[in-house]
């Protein structure tokens, strides 16, 4: 067993406490006595419901739209492909609130496309659950696209060649060979997207607004509660931490390489 240098151990301990102490503070300051009561209030219940529905929908939408996009990026050479890839990666780097502003300018009532949406179909996204889903999908889809694109690129193209020589049309090759082989990465990408969507704040509050019972997701509820009722904020935070921990624990095998 190697004995690490002392300075390294000290710095590592410091780093560990950087994460551990705030989380411990959260647990210690929690109003454990009034927890059941706070947990069942309307604020918490509706925030959870909105967060769950919107994040799952955003993850599903990311998969449905993201898989074809990933396929095109991985397999179809066309001029401007690298520009498209950069565009798709942008929400990863952009501050989420900037994404929210951009969405507002495009899909808001006075926006590029939003104006038409309202006048032709009577559809507004602000203040609605679909608006939340749009904002969350915007920030979450890149995770799925990049994960799947990487997996598709790593896929031996000879599987698809073999299927073709056996008589499979291009559609059949996609459904019965490419997709099943890419499925694990699509699942991993969907989980990443879901986790990202669950935690999204800036884009959602900017584009969909902060309406309790309609668009107030868990992160937004925490932020709002902090302004008025610190105990509620702590409880909501704990719920989010618990959910995140559970996701990490049950999926940790994905992150550690298989033997």
């Amino acid at each position: 067993m190697t004995r690490p240098p002392r300075a390294l151990v000290i710095l590592a301990a410091l780093a560990a406490s950087f994460f551990a102490v705030p989380l411990a503070a959260l647990a210690l300051r929690a109003p454990w006595a009034s927890l059941p009561e706070v947990l069942t209030t309307e604020v918490v219940g509706s925030a959870l419901r909105i967060s769950l529905i919107s994040s799952l929908a955003a993850s599903a939408l990311s998969a449905v739209l993201g898989l074809p996009l990933a396929w095109v990026l991985a397999r179809v050479p066309f001029p401007g492909r690298s520009v498209l890839r950069a565009l798709v990666t942008l929400p990863l780097v952009l501050p989420p609130v900037v994404g929210g502003v951009a969405l507002l300018l495009a899909l808001g009532r006075l926006g590029l496309v939003g104006g038409a949406l309202e006048s032709l179909f009577g559809v507004t996204l602000f203040g609605t659950l679909p608006g939340v889903i749009v904002a969350e999908t915007f920030v979450a889809m890149p995770f799925l696209v990049l994960t799947v694109e990487g997996a598709l690129k790593g896929l031996d193209p000879r599987y698809e060649d073999a299927a073709a020589t056996l008589g499979a049309s291009r559609g059949l090759v996609f459904w019965r060979v490419t997709l099943p082989l890419a499925a694990p990465s699509v699942a991993a990408g969907a989980v990443l997207a879901w986790a990202r969507a669950l935690g999204e704040f800036g884009a959602t509050i900017t584009f969909a607004g902060n309406l309790p019972g309609e668009t107030q997701t868990m992160p937004i509820a925490v932020y709002t509660a902090l302004l008025r009722d610190v105990d509620a904020a702590i409880v909501l935070s704990l719920v989010l931490v618990a959910v995140s921990l559970l996701v990490l624990v049950t999926l940790r095998e994905r992150w550690t390489p298989q033997a």
Binding site: Y159, D161, T165, G167, A168
Partner: protein
Amino acid sequence: MSLEAQVVARAGSLALDVDVRAAAGQTVVLVGPNGAGKTTLLRVLAGLLPLAEGRVTLDDEVLEDPAARRRLPPERRSVGFVFQDYVLFPHLSVLDNVAFGLRARGRAKDEARKQARQWLERMGLAAYAAERPRVLSGGQAQRVALARALATRPRMLLLDEPLAALDAGARAEVRRELKSSLGRFDGVRLVVTHDPVEAMALADRVVVLEDGKVVQEGTPADLSARPRSSYIAELVGLNLWRGQGLGDRVRLDSGGEMLVSHAPMGEIYASVHPRAVALYRSRVEGSPRNVWRGRISGVESDAGRVRVRVEGSIPVVAEVTPAAVAELSLIEGQEIWVSIKATEVSVYPA
């Protein structure tokens, strides 16, 4: 049934320009060094790579003709392809792998599976029907890949290095089985390999590709007797030199002269089997006419025989027994006398 293909194609930096003919019931083996274009040629015939120029016809059906703007995509060709390392679908069972082609071409699931099961039985692998390909040994996977390709009853069978993924122990056995399987297939058969033993064992005809061009064609015997490139010579295990024929001797392009029984005038190839090259510790008086001194540059043993490389005025490879190696202390750097009878030198026009 037969294949006629004039192929001009590009793949990366390789420019392929070959004419290939193959009749049904004949196994044509494509050999050549790495990068010669063998796999590329197979992919073109399968439709996985487009022709730049030329035409591919199978049994009077034009599969591809750029000039006539005709190109059948791979899924519409009646071709079975066995890939190097088999490329079995890992997410499907062995049975569904074999059934894949049938289902892709419209057969109902049950019907396809029934036929697939029959193929597996023929290959002796029925017990593995429900397993995933990853549990199969190399030889078993090869049989499944072959069954998968044959299940759709293609008119042409293409095999890319079918034995390369196997370890040496399995190879001989699987090669024998492959030969008999191929023998039962009555369509056009093309096999690509870089292994000389495989080529000689499986081939009815051999086509040698180098740098995208056909360098020599013929039966294995033709090639063994008269190789026309150092690759082929290496392939069949002969010493080969190019030079000028001068009646009773030949002048080698690489330098030096050898006395021979008879040499036609003009450009020639001269070949000598390593077994006909004798080695002596000291110069010996005798009938062999070609005697010179050289230095051993390498000693390799291979399946009970030892090949000794000798550098000198004429570089040559000699084949001797291990006993001889021990007795004569044949080691690298050792000075040695080489002796070749004139009658052992085969000379033929280039």
